[in-house]
C-alpha cells in the first residue's frame, strides 16, 4: 500500500429522513465506500446553506455532496424542490467562477437505496480523487 496516496476529503450533507437512512442502510448491508466520506445530518436537504458548502471547501474539503429525498418524497413536502433550484444555481455559479464542476453534486437517495448511497459515494469519491486537491476554493490559512 502506498503511504502518501492522495485521499480526498468529502463532506456529505444528508437529509435525516431519506438519505441519512439510506446511508444507514448501506451500513446495515455492509456496503463499502471510502472512509473519506464524512456525513453531516440535516433535517432536510433544504437546510443546506450555500455558505456551509463554501465553508467546507475553505476548510479543506475536496468535494461536497448534498443528498436528499427524491423529488415528491420530501418529508416536508417541498424542501428538496427548493434545494434543487438553489443547488442548480449555486453549482452553475461556481462553475462560472472556474471552480471544477465535479466537486459539487446533488443526489436523491431514498431510505431504501442503501446500494445507491454506497455507489454514489464510491463514484463521487473517485471523481473527486481524479480531480486532485481543491486548489481553487481553498483558504491557505487552513492548510495543515
Amino acid at each position: 500500500m502506498q503511504v502518501n496516496e492522495y485521499k480526498p476529503l468529502i463532506v456529505a450533507f444528508c437529509c435525516n429522513w431519506c438519505s441519512y437512512a439510506g446511508a444507514d442502510l448501506a451500513g446495515n448491508n455492509r456496503l463499502n465506500y471510502p472512509a473519506d466520506v464524512k456525513i453531516i445530518r440535516v433535517p432536510c436537504s433544504c437546510r443546506v446553506n450555500p455558505m456551509f458548502i463554501l465553508r467546507a471547501f475553505q476548510r479543506g474539503a475536496d468535494g461536497v455532496i448534498i443528498c436528499g429525498c427524491h423529488p415528491g418524497d420530501c418529508h416536508y413536502t417541498s424542501g428538496n424542490y427548493y434545494t434543487r433550484r438553489r443547488m442548480a444555481l449555486l453549482f452553475s455559479m461556481l462553475d462560472f467562477l472556474g471552480i471544477e464542476r465535479e466537486r459539487t453534486r446533488l443526489e436523491w437517495v431514498s431510505a431504501a437505496e442503501g446500494a445507491k448511497f454506497a455507489a454514489t459515494m464510491n463514484d463521487f469519491a473517485e471523481t473527486v480523487a481524479a480531480l486532485g486537491e481543491n486548489k481553487r476554493l481553498e483558504d491557505l490559512r487552513c492548510k495543515k
Binding site: M51, L54, Q58, Y82, R85, A88, F96, L137
Partner: protein
C-alpha cells in the same frame, strides 16, 4: 441628453412641497462639479430651487433610500425614479421594505446616464466645465482652451449601455413619454465568459476579484441588500469577514452576495457603477439572471410587484442540478 428638463421635475416637486401634498422630496443634489451629484432629501422648495439637479450624471438609484427615509417622515416622500429604478422600487415593495402609501413616485424618462471615468478618459483630467449637448458633452479642461466634444454614447454607464428597459413599471405620475422594454445585449459578456475554459474562467475571476478591497460599496448601494444586519457583518453568522484576507474570502463574499440577491436583483447595475476597483460585479448577478431565465423561464425581478422570486418557488419538473451544464450547452 435628457429629454425631460430639470425645471419640469423641479416645478413638479416644488408645487407638491408647497401645497403640502408631500413632506419632502428625494432627488439629486448639486455638487462641486457637474458630475458629482449626491442623492438628497429636500424639505423646502427653496432648497430645491437652489440645489436640485437633473442632468446626465444622475445615475444613482434612489429607491433604496426609501427604506430608511420613509420611516423618518410622518407624511409622504416624493421620489424621482428612472425606468431602471422603478424595478428596484417594485422589488422593495414586494419585500415589504417600505410603505407604498408613504411615497409619491414620479417617473422620469431616462436617455442613459454618463460614466465620469469614461468621460475623463476621453476628455482628460482637470475638467473645469461640462456642457450637455444634443449628442453628448462639450468638456472644457484647464489644460486646453478649446472644449473637447464627447459623444454621449461613448461614455454611458455600463448599466445604461446595456439598458434593459425604458419603461417605468411603477409610479404615481409620469413626466414625459413612456418608453419600452428593450432587447438588450446584456448577457453577451456572461456568454463570453461561459465560453471560456474552466481554467480561463478561474483566472479571469481571480484577476477581477483580487482587486476587491471589501469597501462594501457594492453591497451598501444595492437596493436588494437592505438587510437589517448583513451576514458579513454578523460575528455569529459564520461568514463575518472584514477584509479580503485570502482569495477564498473574496470568492465567498461575492458568491454569497450574488446568491442572496439571486432572483431578486433587478439588474440595476449600481454595484458595478460604484465599485472603486471597477470589478464587473454585475456579471455575477447577470449570470444568475441568465440561468434563472434558462432553467425556470423568463423572470424579471421587480417587473411586477408581488411576483414570486424563482428561488422561493419551484415546479415538480424543475431541472436537476446535474443537468445544469447540459442545459447551458444547448
Amino acid at each position: 441628453m435628457q429629454k425631460v428638463n430639470r425645471d419640469v421635475l423641479l416645478e413638479k416637486a416644488a408645487a407638491m412641497l408647497d401645497a403640502g401634498e408631500v413632506q419632502a422630496v428625494l432627488g439629486w443634489g448639486a455638487g462641486e462639479f457637474a458630475y458629482d451629484v449626491t442623492p438628497r432629501v429636500f424639505e423646502t422648495s427653496d432648497e430645491l430651487r437652489a440645489d436640485f439637479v437633473w442632468n446626465d450624471f444622475c445615475g444613482a438609484n434612489l429607491s433604496k433610500y426609501l427604506v430608511s427615509k420613509t420611516k423618518k417622515l410622518e407624511g409622504k416622500l416624493l421620489v424621482f425614479l428612472k425606468p431602471c429604478d422603478t424595478y428596484s422600487f417594485n422589488q422593495l415593495l414586494t419585500e415589504h421594505r417600505f410603505e407604498r402609501e408613504k411615497v409619491y413616485a414620479v417617473a422620469v424618462p431616462c436617455e442613459g446616464m454618463a460614466d465620469v471615468q469614461k468621460l475623463k478618459a476621453l476628455a482628460g483630467d482637470g475638467i473645469s466645465s461640462i456642457e450637455s449637448t444634443d449628442s453628448g458633452f462639450s468638456v472644457t479642461t484647464i489644460y486646453d482652451d478649446a472644449p473637447v466634444e464627447v459623444k454621449g454614447a461613448d461614455v454611458l454607464l455600463e448599466k445604461c449601455a446595456n439598458c434593459k428597459s425604458r419603461k417605468h413599471v411603477a409610479y404615481d405620475e409620469l413626466l414625459g413619454d413612456e418608453g419600452e422594454v428593450l432587447d438588450s445585449n446584456r448577457f453577451d459578456e456572461v456568454e463570453r465568459i461561459e465560453a471560456m475554459t474552466s481554467e480561463e474562467r478561474f483566472a479571469f475571476w481571480q484577476g477581477e476579484l483580487s482587486r476587491c478591497i471589501r469597501c462594501n460599496a457594492c453591497r451598501d448601494v444595492c437596493p436588494a441588500c437592505t438587510c437589517e444586519k448583513c451576514v458579513f457583518d454578523n460575528p455569529n453568522s459564520g461568514a463575518e469577514n472584514k477584509a479580503p484576507t485570502t482569495s477564498f474570502e473574496e470568492q465567498m463574499f461575492h458568491v454569497i452576495r450574488a446568491f442572496h440577491v439571486a432572483g431578486r436583483c433587478t439588474d440595476c447595475g449600481e454595484c458595478s457603477r460604484v465599485c472603486p476597483q471597477n470589478i464587473p460585479l454585475h456579471l455575477l448577478n447577470r449570470k444568475f439572471i441568465k440561468d434563472i431565465n434558462t432553467f425556470y423561464g423568463e423572470y424579471q425581478a421587480g417587473a411586477e410587484e408581488g411576483s414570486r422570486a424563482p428561488l422561493v418557488d419551484y415546479t415538480l419538473e424543475d431541472l436537476e442540478a446535474e443537468d445544469v451544464f447540459k442545459k447551458e450547452a444547448e
